[in-house]
């Protein structure tokens, strides 16, 4: 992985915030020497190995690759469908109930699944810390110093613009 470069998501949406937070946490935890920035000459999120041209453009697969955790779960499917739609459309109020009633099945250790779910829920509900902390695993994870650093970095490079929810 020595020739890896990582360009962040230059967007201004909740989805961009979620994408950047996912890869920021994964790099802090698993590849701390891999810095990433929003580059104007890059079209969007991209992990690239300059040695062989290998590329990934999708945040969840980047997290899985960096953590070497390719397991799947119903929680991940929930993130890739329900949470993704809310991130893309901005209609977060509609999923608040689904989130409150959901029982996530995270293990004791940090996993790709936890990083991905946390980042999306954080992007959607960072203004509602009570909701975020109602999930014990999120509360503990958010308190980790490296996660705090990743949040700080993400917020410094991602400017979310308010927009009307899309139908």
């Amino acid at each position: 992985m020595s020739k890896l470069t990582l360009a962040g998501d230059c967007g201004t949406s909740l989805l961009a915030l979620s994408n950047n937070l996912k890869v920021a946490i994964a790099t802090k935890l698993y590849k701390p020497d891999l810095d990433f920035q929003n580059k104007e000459d890059e079209s969007g999120l991209k992990l690239r190995n300059n040695a062989d041209g290998f590329e990934l453009l999708e945040a969840n697969s980047i997290v899985k690759y960096l953590s070497n955790d390719f397991s799947t779960s119903e929680d991940l499917e929930f993130e890739e469908t329900v949470l993704f739609s809310a991130l893309k459309s901005g209609k977060k109020d509609e999923i608040e109930g689904a989130l409150k009633s959901r029982n996530f099945s995270f293990g004791k250790d940090v996993s790709a699944s936890l990083i991905i779910l946390f980042a999306s829920v954080y992007a959607l509900f960072k203004d509602k810390p009570d909701l975020l902390e109602s999930v014990a695993a999120f509360k503990q994870f958010q308190a980790l110093p490296k996660v705090q650093e990743a949040i700080k970095k993400t917020l410094s490079i991602t400017k979310v613009e308010r927009s009307l929810p899309k139908n």
């Binding site: 190995n49 990934l56 453009l57 697969s61 690759y65 390719f70 499917e77 890739e80 993704f84 893309k88």
Partner: protein, 132 residues
């Protein structure tokens, strides 16, 4: 890889979830990541950007991860097949040309689709040249 295809017993759409990954060649970490990326795109089948990204990711690949088949080919096919069957306009075919080529390969190798239900690939349709 043609040896693998010859020995592989194509399976029905309904049995895709039951096929073990061990039935396929072992994947490297990079290939697992590409497989994961494609499955994620297919989970977002109603999102135009995700479908566009899936199409682009297949531009230079025979199968989802490159030149070897994997369980991801089955999982993505399961999600994409019905949607792809509705792409008939020149615009749709042009936009999704790499997915259509890949669906045609999978329906004729890994997945057993009844002849009447197969995606019909029109070789006569004139699509605009692709701008990369």
């Amino acid at each position: 890889m043609s040896d693998f295809i010859e020995k592989f017993s194509s399976i029905s759409l309904n049995d895709i979830k039951n096929v073990p990954e061990s039935d396929f060649p072992e994947l490297t970490a990079e290939e697992k990541a590409l497989a994961s990326q494609a499955v994620t795109y297919s989970n977002r089948i109603e999102d135009a950007d995700s479908i566009s990204n899936l199409n682009d990711s297949l531009r230079n690949k025979t199968f989802i991860v490159g030149n070897k088949p994997s369980k991801a080919d089955l999982l993505v096919f399961e999600k994409v097949f019905k949607v792809a069957s509705k792409w008939s306009s020149v615009e749709d075919v042009s936009k999704h040309r790499h997915i259509i080529r890949w669906v045609d390969l999978i329906q004729n190798t890994l997945v057993n689709v009844p002849e009447s239900e197969k995606l019909k690939v029109s070789l006569d349709i004139e699509v605009p040249r692709e701008i990369k």
